[in-house]
Subunit: 306 residues, 3 copies
């Protein structure tokens, strides 16, 4: 099975997901022995208009572990001919002459799709503003399957900023493809999951509920997916931000309420929403989750590069 | 034939140009199969004091396709010891201990020459302010030869900002070395080709003319070399900029006036001076031209690295 | 002998130093033939929160000459999730999933130690503010041994900003481990060597003296270690800065006073404290010293990567 562009979580059906996960498992072994050199004739361009050192490092490590080369920009918006008014389409057409795969991160929703529309080489969306961040959703799903054993029958709490967090939105969408999943949305009133996702879940007959008391939900679920209340999305509505942050904190007390085999996930960076004392608990899966990003991105690169 | 430093277009005589183009042709084949590993023991430093993501990517791709390594800075002026007052000469001397070839881009005219004067390893000029950008001129010439078949007998229109555009200045200089070339300079009065180039052409007995009506020239020429009116070079003379931009636009109507085998070139980025509708026409050569930059830079690297 | 983290000069005992220098000598030969590919399965992350193009280039060249891969950030503080409030510890934990060795530069004293405390993979301190810059101290010591033949019996003048220059502080510390070393501290009153180092030297029974007349010291010593008076460390105390800079200048006249076999060192960048005319003298060792940084860093990388 060969992928071309990776633009949004919705493009993945269950067989493709399972295929991706099988490749990612093999990539864990590849990475464990330091990598391979099979892709030494391939070049990946990381075209980041919006900086994200971690996501960039994850993709670049993936390419290096495959033996490939990387050309990289941390801040394309400021530095490139974009400043002179070049369209994204022209930039992509030019990069087509250099790179075998383009990883793009951009502030504008839909930019990865625009890039893919003119690109001969595969384009991978590494986040387009408030839009999609599909590789994050894929590594989240991979982590759930690896840690819990199966996605079918999952009970998951999504906590925090469900309104603006693209991570939980994409993950909810992907989970709706699997049987007998139950979603518990735990959010302050200002940050509730938006109607488009809820409507999608209704259509797919997926069980979901909205809760405000985290402690009530914790004993029920296999996965607590905690998110950061993103200050930068509130603009100058400081009071709203202050009201929302700190409502839901995962700490030692939370651990006592959780199932023994449950896990805590977080897309990172985390601030105070998971206290440091939680890190030592084996159920703290968020750093393992970040590492899974490497395997999933290695798998995606091999699938788009063929 | 071995090159050492690549500082300005004028250093290339016709035999060296033909040699370079023969190597660049071989590099097309090398790049088509993904590259070689012959230069895996060589390191290129891209020392960019002025950002230019595209030029940097082109050089770095060239080095990677040869199997070499790259150390890279996007914005040396802001980040390095330059901020502490280090001279360019000291920076180059130190880099001589690390890299096998240095690609430099700098705001100041003559900086590449200064760098070369103290460098044991080859220095390649990737643009020194309003001065030179020799690899652009070389890839332009390579593109003309490849697309048109020969440089001798060429009829070329240079359009737009001929006063400040270093690209057209260097290209006019290089073309003067070939027999029976005719140059049509099409520019607004404020942006006419400067006297030093015109004088050089007179000395070499090269045929040239100045025109203001682009449509009159289009049916005559094999190459239309369009350029961007560079806002950044006007400073606060906004009215002058507004008067000059948009005077000469290549569009569908232009295509109807042009010869069937003619081509349109542009150093990119392009704004409105070539409309998007032109892109689909086979005579639109500007993206192929950008790609040729890769082959010419691969060829230059092999020639300076030996 | 295997190293793990490289955090501060004090961690190195004499046997480890000698082992490191033996490896660095072999690395000179490795670098002379362009490098090796033994480390092609290893990835180094350069995590620079404070920009230093030269130090970054030196480490990255070292890794490339060993055949390894590099993921790199020039300005982590501005670009990464740090801006969103992520702790250094979390960043390091995540990078542990990607890289085999982490080279960190940070504004805060103690940050490298904090990084090492949570890191499974080796951490190398590339400068933590006014704290340590151990690889600089190691390359300084390596240079002295290589140029002078031995460290025992050395007479060295340390000149300039001894109060704030971490380089001379670390070097004085390392030199105290060797027999019969004599240290001449030559500094303006505002920039004298601080009491903690003097006290340490007293405890170790190391001979030292404080002088204000450089010319009196020059005929005595084997090494003149000149430093820059760092404007950035004076803040708004411009008058103090102006008083201190330019007090001690190494020029042609200084060369006439120096021993024939003595050398001049400088951590670079240098401003006016060593005049350009000195560069051509064989005793000007500062560019060779910078190059030795490559060999010492290659040696450190092989020792921490095993």
């Amino acid at each position: 099975m060969k992928l071309h562009h990776v633009i949004e979580a919705q493009q993945f059906d269950v067989p493709t997901l399972l295929q991706l996960f099988a490749v990612a498992e093999r990539m864990e072994q590849v990475a464990a022995r330091g990598g391979i050199t099979d892709y030494q004739n391939r070049i990946m361009a990381t075209l980041f208009y919006e900086p994200s050192t971690r996501t960039r490092f994850s993709f670049e490590t993936a390419m290096h572990r495959l033996g490939g080369h990387v050309i990289s920009t941390e801040n394309a918006a400021e530095f490139s001919s974009v400043a002179k008014g070049e369209t994204l389409e022209d930039t992509i057409r030019i990069l087509n002459g250099y790179a075998d795969v383009i990883v793009i991160r951009h502030k504008e929703v839909g930019s990865a799709k625009r890039a893919a529309a003119v690109s001969r080489v595969p384009v991978i969306n590494a986040g387009d503003g408030a839009g999609q961040h599909p590789t994050q959703a894929l590594l989240d799903l991979y982590t759930i399957r690896k840690e819990i054993g199966a996605i079918e029958g999952l009970r998951i709490a999504m906590v925090g900023d469900l309104a603006q967090g693209r991570t939980v939105r994409s993950l909810a969408y992907l989970l709706s493809k699997f049987a007998d999943v139950r979603l518990y949305f735990v959010a302050p009133p200002l940050l509730k999951m938006k109607e488009d996702i809820l409507e999608h879940l209704r259509e797919r007959h997926v069980w979901w509920t909205e809760e405000t008391a985290l402690d009530k939900v914790l004993p029920e679920v296999d996965v607590v997916y905690q998110t950061r209340v993103q200050k930068e999305r509130f603009g100058d509505r400081i009071a709203d931000y202050e009201e929302c942050r700190g409502v839901y904190i995962i700490n030692q007390a939370s651990l006592r309420l959780m199932k023994e085999k449950a896990i805590i996930m977080h897309p990172l960076p985390r601030l105070e929403e998971i206290t440091m004392e939680v890190d030592a608990d084996p159920r703290a899966a968020y750093f393992r989750q970040a590492q899974n990003g490497l395997y999933v991105r290695m798998a995606l690169l091999t699938m788009v590069l063929g």
